[in-house]
Structure formats: structure tokens, C-alpha cells
Amino acid sequence: MKNKLEAKNVSVFYDDFQALNNINMSFEENAVTALIGPSGCGKSTYLRLFNRMNDYIESFRLEGEILIDKKNIYNKNIIVEDLRKNIGMVFQKPNPFPKSIFENVAYGLRIQGIKNKAILRIKVRKALQQAALWDEVKNDLDKSALTLSGGQQQRLCIARTLAVEPSIVLMDEPTSALDPIATAKVEKLIYELKKEYTIIIVTHNMQQAKRISDYTAFFYMGDLIEYNKTEHIFTNPTHDRTQNYITGRFG
């Protein structure tokens, strides 16, 4: 067991409002960790810390450290763009670029300066296969990504993320905009991906957390209430709040 990421004494503020209170938590490599908790408890804020997407929010301020492979990613000498090449992010709503399917997946590779057509083709194909989308789109690679269904678009976004071979994938409610069938496909995919990736997923869906995650962290109003193996959280939670939340008594 290896710790891939770690949050040390992490507090986050938006101006005077404190969104996260002194979080300490480490994430196991090649495992799926689910972040659950009621709306507004700070899950997205927390997730965005790991690829520094909060940096664009003018009122954002961080205390504490976020370590990836033991290195603080908020150190002055860290180049954010390089960091993000190792940490992919899949967003709540599918957000493909208004470009072709191929160019969407090739985007990150092109950003990294890869121009060789053959290499691009191989990597795009591999990513689409990993995202379980290849068979559906292999004859339409030049079509606009906007012609795909919502579920396909989300798998395309996953493929786009995987194409650059990150070691960590962050997902913020990746199935909340999808129908049950598309959701099932994405869930299966996430389950497959953990062999190669460390995955952190925010989800509103208790069943989903139960089905796909190895660990679950329950947040409430900026506090980390409980963090443990998923089966433990769902069968024998230590805190009443957790118990109430997972049984749907509030949230």
C-alpha cells in the first residue's frame, strides 16, 4: 500500500468564508476514493486543490499542504501546467471542445508538443479504447464531438484525460448529468481504470460510492467527519452524521 496523495492541515478560505477546516487525509495509490457529503460541504473545493484549479478563483486562499508523491504541489517552484499533465480532471458536465472527436482526445498530446501523426493516432486510439468508446466512434473520428450523446461525451472527456497518461484522475460528479445506462458504463470504466490510476471521485450517489470505491470520505460543512474503507463506512459508520447521511435521512 502506497500513499499517492496527502492533505496536511488543509484549510481553504474564500475571502473570509472558510470552506474546509483543517483536513488531514491520505489517498492510496491505484485505489478509488469517493468523497461524499451534502451539497456545499466543500467536496469540489477539496478536489480542485489537487490540480490547483482553485488558483483561478480570486478570493481563494489555502493553508496547509497538498503532497503528491511526497512533494508539496503548492511550492513556489512547481509549474502548474506540468503538475496537471500528471493529474487529469473529469468535470460534472461533459465539456468536449467544439472540435472533432479525434482532436478532442489529441488535445493534451498536442499541448505537450506531440506532432507525429502516427503517434497521435496510436495514443488517441488507446485512450478511446480505455474509455470504452472506441468501438462506437472508430468510424467517426472526424465528426464533431458535439454530435455525441451525453454519455458518449463524458467518456470522450475521460479519454481526453487518459490520453496524456496521468497517474491520478480527479472526477467531480462525472455521472450526475447522465442517464442510468450511461452511468453504468462510466462506473464500469472507473472500476477498470483503478488498475493503472489513482482515482478520486466526488459523488452524490451513495450506491455509486458503494459500487465503485475502495475508500469513502464523508464531509460535512467543511469538516472531514469520517474516512475509512468503503464497506466499513456503509456497514458500520462510526459517526451518527455519517449514518444519517448514507441512509438518506438528510442531504
Binding site: M53, E81, R84, K85, F91, K93, N95, R110, I111, Q112
Partner: protein, 290 residues
Amino acid sequence: MNKEKIIEGLLKLSASITILTTIGILYVLLSESISFFKEVSILEFLTDKEWTPLFVNKHFGILPLVMGTLLTTFIAVSVAIPIGITIAIYLSEYAPNKFRKIVKPLLEILAAVPTIVYGFFALVVVTPFLQSFIPGMSGFNSLSAGIVMGIMIIPYVSSLSEDALRAVPKALRNASFGMGATRLQTAFKVMVPAASSGIIVSIILAFSRAIGETMIVAIAAGQQPRLTLNPLVPIETITAYIVQVSLGDVAHGSLEYKTIFAAGITLFLFTFILNNISYYIRKKFKEQYE
């Protein structure tokens, strides 16, 4: 009659006034032009290389005026488009919110300055300044007029392009940043392509505005129709010619007088075509996002 009906009636009335005015303008333009072309052949109008309707030796070739218009327009858009788009990208992709909120209205003031002020600015400031290191530049020339016109047009381009960039869903910008793209890469590989139709519309507007601009060129570019690409010598644009004749003592109904309608309809054709292109692009753009 109730209020609703009165208001509806007023709206209909103003809509029909607009349409009637347009029809009226078109009617006058067309009928006067037709009577012009009874005396001057379209072939001469389109091919003669001189435009001297006010001289004894009359020539009616529109080309020098068209060339003057295109020359000043080209200079103006060469200034307005790169600067305008750069400003738009800076404001939407780089500038902090507070800065944008201050700068945008300031820029729009540029478009609100009366054009006659720009005209004199070109004539008494820009031209002497340029003359200090371009020897042989005439007092009237298309370069100063074009540059100053370009400055005037900057806010049209920057404002519309910035609106187009801001209309691109934020999620696309986040996706790009999330992939490790820099701001510059995100701007040029994602945002600008996604906003391209809006940006193109702003460019077309810049062209129309430059083609139709009158006061600056009338004051600073000269009144000498000349088939030339030299930006340092006096020329005349279609609009400046129309002003010159309208203000002069040419007898109404004379052939000289009718030339302004022939010139006017040429101008109208240019802007009409540009308007249609921009309408077409906007329509296509709408479909794309529906």
C-alpha cells in the same frame, strides 16, 4: 381602445416607418442611378481609370474612388483588427475582473468621440508626426486617415470579440487548463476557435464601418480621386466624394449631381454584401449551438 392596443399600434408604426424609410432611400438611390446610367455606360463606369465629373474633361470611372475606399479601409482594419482582438483576448482571458470592468467602458468612449475630431486629429497631429520621419508624405494622405480610422474602430472589434469570447462556456476553459494548457494555449487553441464566428462578425463590422466612414477621410485623406496603392499621397474615397458634391454648388438634377447616387449605390453594394455575410455567419453560429 386599451393601452395594449395603443402600444402595439405604436410599435407597428415605428417598424413600418423604418421599413418605409429604407424603401424610400433605395428608391431614390436606384432611380437617380438609373438616370445616371442612361447617360454614362456601366462599362465606362466600371473600367475607366479616371473620375473627373467636375472637370471640363469628364471621366466617370468609379475605380479610383473604390481604390481610395479600399486603401483607407485596408489600413484601418490592419490597425483595428489585430489590436482589437488582442485587447479582447487580454480582457477575457488574462485581465482581472476589476480591470476589465474599468477598461471596457473606457475603450467604448473611443467609438463615441465625434468622427470630425478624429479627422482633425489625423490632419493636424498624425500627419505632421508621420511626416517627421516619412519625407515626401503629403499633407493629405490615406495613411494617417486610415490609422486614425483604425483607432476609432478598435472598440467595435474588441467589444464584440470579447463578448464572443465570454459567451464560450467556462467549462471549455476549465477543460483546457485541466489538461495542463497555459493561458496562451487555451486562448488560441480553444477560446478563439470556439468564438470564431463572433470574432469574424466583429471583423466584418470593422470593414463596414471603415468603408462607410466619411468625416475622417474627407478631412484627412484629400479630395483627389487617384488609382493608386500609395498611402502617402492624397486620394478620395466614395464617401468623401459624396460629401464634396453635396456641399458644393453642383446644380440639382445635373449629371454631376447624379454621380453621387451612382457612387452611393456602389457603396451600398459593398456594405450590403458585408451585412449579408455577417448575417449568414450569425445564423450558422446559432444553429451550431442549438
